[in-house]
């Protein structure tokens, strides 16, 4: 098992498993995350695309002690199996210029009709690599290179809650109103976070997501706001 352990801060160590944004890399992170969550006495464990940060109680443990514990646990990795679910989370998506300021612009840049852009985006099955930036903000990929577009040069001061946006090969949904620089191409009426959800966030690392195009009437009926 290939990994590197480095210092993040006096009470946080960082384990890096790989160097790329791939499903294989993400699954290594998920396995290790499950292992640490179940068997390590840590204050906080934060996974990302290719690494995990572990914050520990500096009074009870030393950096070296936690490093040793982590190394020992990682020996178990080959025996860990990820519970693969075939569940696909469907996200109703209203693709329309009235709520997606970058939809037409992206179609123009990529020399596609609106319908072609919508089809290319919605037929893809996306994988949730990691969650961060905001609670429930899931970084999903990969966006088809026919429509992959870099971030805006200047971020918008306010991206409305529910906006579905892309930045290069990544796709995400803004769980709340927020500044943001991604290209907005659709909007969902679904709540991305809620106390009613079992894990607060609708999406979890490792989920597969499908966007289902809906029309204005369906969007409003599902509670969407224009």
């Amino acid at each position: 098992m290939d990994y590197e352990i480095k210092v993040a801060s006096v009470n946080t160590l960082l384990i890096t498993f790989c160097n790329s944004i791939t499903i294989e890399c993400s699954q290594k992170v998920q396995k290790a995350y499950t292992l640490f969550k179940n068997e390590l006495d840590a204050k906080e464990i934060i996974p990302s695309y290719s690494s995990i940060a572990i914050s520990f109680d500096i009074v009870r443990y030393s950096f070296e002690e936690i490093e040793q514990k982590v190394k020992k646990l990682l020996e178990k990795m080959p025996h860990i199996k990820l519970t693969q679910t075939d569940t696909i989370i469907e996200i109703p998506a209203f693709y329309d210029s009235s709520i997606a300021p970058d939809l037409q612009r992206l179609a123009n840049i990529h020399k596609l009709s609106l319908q072609e852009l919508i089809t290319i985006h919605s037929k893809q099955l996306y994988y949730v690599y990691t969650i961060g930036f905001l609670p429930g903000f899931a970084y999903m990929g990969d966006v088809d290179k026919k429509i992959a577009t870099p971030r805006l040069k200047t971020p918008r001061a306010n991206v409305p809650k529910g906006s579905i946006a892309i930045a290069n090969k990544q796709c995400a949904i803004y769980p709340q109103n927020s500044p943001g620089g991604w290209n907005i191409i659709a909007k969902t009426p679904l709540e991305l976070t809620s106390k009613e959800y079992p894990n607060f966030s609708l999406l979890q690392i490792g989920n597969r997501v499908q966007f289902i195009p809906i029309n204005k009437m369906e969007f409003l009926k599902l509670g969407g706001s224009l």
């Binding site: 210092v7 801060s9 906080e44 934060i46 009074v59 961060g132 709340q176």
Partner: protein, 301 residues
């Protein structure tokens, strides 16, 4: 009913404890008191549990009317403090009865004050903590007319901290930094310049402190694969300016980080305001561990 009525809520007053943990995989920030040193002193003086919640008051201008009986203590930034128009001291416990009024004026030195009572306020936890997260809209800041419910207390502990031990806040901080896993993204020259620069604070909030630099600090790559962000992490933006990430920092980020500011220096940093200055010096992991351990041991054990 036992409570404090909020006559004047001030610019930004929020209930805080030491933060929420366990939700790192869905992007929920730690939140919690920005200045843990002032926070922990208040609880220690009141003989509270170290994680007892209290009000974090930014810039002052708060007025409370007591509809209860308890003891309270105010720590952190310096501001004129009054109990029923009588001047009172910070870092000192006072009895409070029904009808008593507490007035906290505008902050003169520092930024954040802490108002604590015996055993904290009766607050509902959300996601494991009572801490307000402004950015994530978890619970909300205080408004005029709010009621802070609490249990009555007949405690007579009236401890206080001797003046010479009260943390003093100045306009400059020399922050100690443990070099982090991404410091090799920076050339020797850039690192050396970083440790010799006097940075000015452009702005700040509970997410972090944004610094301006006379010359930009360059990293080899402007952006890298997003990694988790630890408390006190120093990120260099694409403009070559540092941001020190604090309690409401996002969980992961793609700008390279030089290292992390020592926790105790992060608490001191949270008392610096716009226009103040900060410089950095490296510190070994061993030294950092010694200092941080000593700090927490003095409040928890």
């Amino acid at each position: 009913m036992s409570y404090f009525l909020v006559k004047q809520a001030g610019f930004l007053s929020t209930i805080q404890d030491l933060g929420r943990f366990g939700y790192g995989d869905i992007g929920i920030s730690q939140s919690g008191a920005m200045d843990e040193e002032a926070f922990l002193w208040a609880n220690k003086l009141l003989q509270n549990h170290p994680n007892s919640n209290m009000l974090e008051i930014t810039y002052g201008n708060v007025e409370l009317i007591s509809f209860t009986q308890s003891i309270f203590c105010i720590t952190g930034a310096s501001a004129p403090l009054y109990l029923n128009k009588q001047k009172i001291n910070p870092y000192q416990c006072y009895k409070i009865d029904k009808g008593d009024r507490i007035k906290i004026g505008f902050v003169q030195k520092g930024v954040r004050l802490y108002f604590a009572i015996k055993d904290g306020f009766l607050e509902a936890k959300e996601l494991g903590s009572v801490s307000v997260s402004v950015k994530e809209q978890i619970k909300s800041p205080l408004k005029n007319g709010d009621k802070l419910f609490c249990k009555k207390s007949t405690s007579t502990i009236l401890s206080y901290l001797k003046k010479e031990h009260i943390p003093k806040y100045s306009n400059h901080l020399k922050a100690r930094v443990t070099l982090g896993y991404e410091y090799q993204e920076f050339s020797k020259e850039a690192l050396s310049r970083f440790f010799q620069t006097n940075f000015i604070i452009k702005s700040h909030n509970r997410m972090g402190y944004f610094l301006s630099s006379p010359t930009p600090i360059q990293s080899q790559n402007i952006e890298i694969i997003s990694n988790p962000i630890s408390f006190g992490a120093i990120q260099i933006t694409k403009n070559g300016e540092p941001i020190i990430l604090l309690k409401e920092r996002q969980s992961i980020g793609g700008y390279p980080k030089i290292g992390s500011v020592l926790p105790i220096d992060c608490f001191r940093l949270s008392q610096l305001k716009e226009g103040d200055s900060i410089s950095f010096e490296p510190i070994s992991l061993q030294e950092a561990t010694k200092i941080t351990r000593k700090f927490y041991k003095s409040f928890f054990y």
